[in-house]
């Protein structure tokens, strides 16, 4: 299944408009998400090219996380279409979208707290475990080889995130910053093309935030990733994003270069009363 999806994604997209070059990695067209009468996101349009690092900012309740939920298939959008590498993913189940190469972290950390750090990564690798029920039942050679390989990969990843020495500890026993790192590592374990980070620096002090910024930059280069980042901490956004989208009340009110955005009167107005602009 996952293999098929990847093949389709690699080929020219069926539902995509004719593009001279490769289709954009992510494209959202007119996405609207309504809950009852409330329109959490309205007419959201976004095109992300491969390799870009795009920021999504806006005051609390602007609909940023809802955008992530729609992009990852947690919600089915009320209107609009979403394409990944030219392939339409609107309305696909979340697990299928993950298998096609979209991974995310959560604003409120959602690790598998009772499982070990290592197991958290193994779960994220689960869909490409490469063995079936029968292999698990009889502990076949394939089972043993694949388990060993998954473990090795997971440990390597943990090593990159300086968590290898804590591999056997329950995830909930990690320090806050470590849990944030583990969330990113876990997302990467699904081997994404597109990584969605939902306020990764929330609850961090400036120094931790700075370290995190370095980490994100490094991850992007190391894994050849495209990143969409929700962030409240302005310095982070300004420091690493090439392009920024500003949401307010579900609508996109500004888009463009981070420095230009910062002086945009509409953005300043949207943030009035919010203390976190700096």
């Amino acid at each position: 299944m996952a293999g098929m999806a990847a093949d389709r994604a690699a080929g020219p997209g069926a539902g995509a408009p004719p593009h001279p070059a490769a289709p954009p990695l992510l494209e959202a067209r007119g996405v609207t998400m309504a809950f009852g009468g409330l329109r959490a996101v309205e007419d959201f349009n976004l095109t992300v090219q491969r390799g870009e690092l795009v920021g999504l900012i806006g005051p609390n309740g602007a609909g940023k996380t809802t955008v992530f939920n729609v992009l990852t298939g947690v919600y089915r959008p009320t209107a609009g279409r979403i394409f990944l590498g030219g392939v339409e993913i609107t309305g696909l189940p979340a697990s299928a979208i993950t298998r096609m190469g979209v991974a995310r972290t959560f604003q409120n950390i959602r690790l598998f707290g009772g499982m070990t750090v290592l197991e958290n990564l193994l779960v994220a690798m689960g869909f490409r475990a490469g063995y079936g029920l029968w292999d698990a039942l009889v502990r076949s050679r394939r089972f043993r080889e694949r388990e060993a390989a998954l473990r090795r990969q997971a440990l390597e990843l943990l090593d990159l995130f300086r968590l290898a020495d804590k591999a056997e500890r329950p995830a909930r026993s990690l320090a806050y910053g470590e849990q944030r790192r583990l969330e990113i590592a876990r997302a990467l374990a699904t081997r994404p093309r597109l990584l969605l980070l939902d306020e990764p620096a929330a609850g961090m002090n400036p120094q931790e935030g700075e370290e995190l910024m370095q980490l994100i930059r490094w991850v992007r280069e190391q894994f050849d990733l495209t990143i969409l980042l929700i962030e409240h901490h302005m310095p982070i956004v300004m420091g690493i994003c090439q392009r920024v989208l500003v949401l307010d009340f579900g609508r996109t009110i500004a888009e463009g270069d981070p420095r230009a955005i910062q002086s945009d009167p509409r953005v300043i107005e949207a943030y009035l009363g919010q203390q976190e602009v700096s």
């Binding site: 697990s95 959560f106 959602r110 690790l111 707290g113 197991e119 193994l122 039942l137 009889v138």
Partner: protein, 318 residues
């Protein structure tokens, strides 16, 4: 995967246990072990199958199924159909009973896992009641009078073999990618889904495996007592299984073995209480919840991961 020493130990343990069971079986045939004791031992085995399989759903997967006796009933009646009505050999009947129960588990799981929340409880309870109700209304199966005349095909060896097989299946699955995903779903189903796990399919898989084992247990049970009737599979029986699961501890197969053994033995010892005996089970359940919610072997959630680890470097603590 296991170290050589560990492998030796477990070989010794299982070999010794097998030898002991065969010896008891042979002594029983020679009339040197009482039929009563043999029957209790078999009931313990059957209860272990029921408890461990229910634990897969309620403990590892973190769902709440309370109609396990329904699957047991399907296994018992389908297998009885094969032996009593169609005069087919017992192994075939056993297989059919297990498969049929697994199929029903699949049917129950489809609506139950489409929705969310506590509805699995109410759907499995309903399934349990409908099965009993249905059997009550099928004259061909004896209706409320029950179905007598099952051949005495179950013996200690059958029970032992199937209990061991069930535990092996459950253990191997729990210590694999499947087990990790089940526990992940329990911890956070949304995060599991977003890590690429097909949550609904995995839940269905667990329920079908549990139902199949419960069906096999039902078939064994029927051919042990040689007489089945619908009331033996009602919701009270299901609750009894829950008592055994929680007594032993959620998410622990060893706990299920312990819980089923202790509970079965205890209930036998309390036969003198007559009509007050059924009051003991629910009291135990309430007391467990109040006093030791993790059960006898229940591991604290942080320890659970250790149980699931496919490889173990350190000694076995569980």
């Amino acid at each position: 995967m296991n170290t050589p020493v560990k492998r030796w130990q477990s070989l010794l343990l299982w070999g010794g246990l097998t030898l002991a069971v065969v010896a008891v079986h042979l002594l029983g045939r020679a009339g040197l072990v009482s039929g009563y004791l043999l029957q209790i031992l078999q009931l313990i085995g059957i209860n272990i199958m029921l408890t461990a399989s229910l634990n897969l759903v309620n403990g590892y997967l973190g769902e709440f199924a309370i109609g396990h006796a329904g699957f047991m009933a399907v296994g018992a009646y389908v297998s009885a159909l094969f032996t009593v009505k169609w005069h087919l050999p017992f192994p075939l009947a056993l297989l059919a009973g297990a498969v049929a129960a697994g199929f029903f588990a699949w049917l129950v799981g489809i609506p139950a896992f489409t929705t969310f929340g506590d509805y699995l409880a109410i759907i499995t309870l309903g399934f349990n009641m409908i099965v009993v109700n249905l059997i009550n209304n099928i004259d061909y199966l004896g209706g409320p009078r029950g179905l007598p005349g099952l051949p005495r095909a179950t013996n200690l060896l059958w029970v032992y073999a199937l209990t061991a097989l069930s535990l092996l299946v459950l253990r191997n699955l729990v210590r694999s990618n499947y087990g990790r995903l089940w526990v992940a779903i329990r911890e956070s189903d949304i995060a599991a889904e977003l890590m690429g796990a097909e949550v609904r399919r995995l839940k269905l898989l667990a329920l079908v495996i549990a139902g199949t084992i419960a069906g096999a247990a039902g078939a064994l049970w029927g051919h042990l007592l040689q007489y089945i009737h619908p009331r033996s599979f009602d919701y009270i029986k299901s609750t009894e299984m829950l008592v055994m699961v929680y007594l032993g501890g959620m998410g622990s197969l060893a706990g299920s073995v312990l819980g089923a053994t202790l509970y079965t033995a205890l209930m036998e010892m309390l036969r003198g209480l007559k009509e007050w005996r059924p009051v003991v089970g629910p009291l135990i359940l309430i007391l467990i919840m109040l006093r030791m919610p993790r059960g006898l072997m229940g591991l604290r959630p942080p320890d659970l991961g250790r149980l699931l680890r496919p490889r173990r470097e350190k000694g076995v603590a569980t």
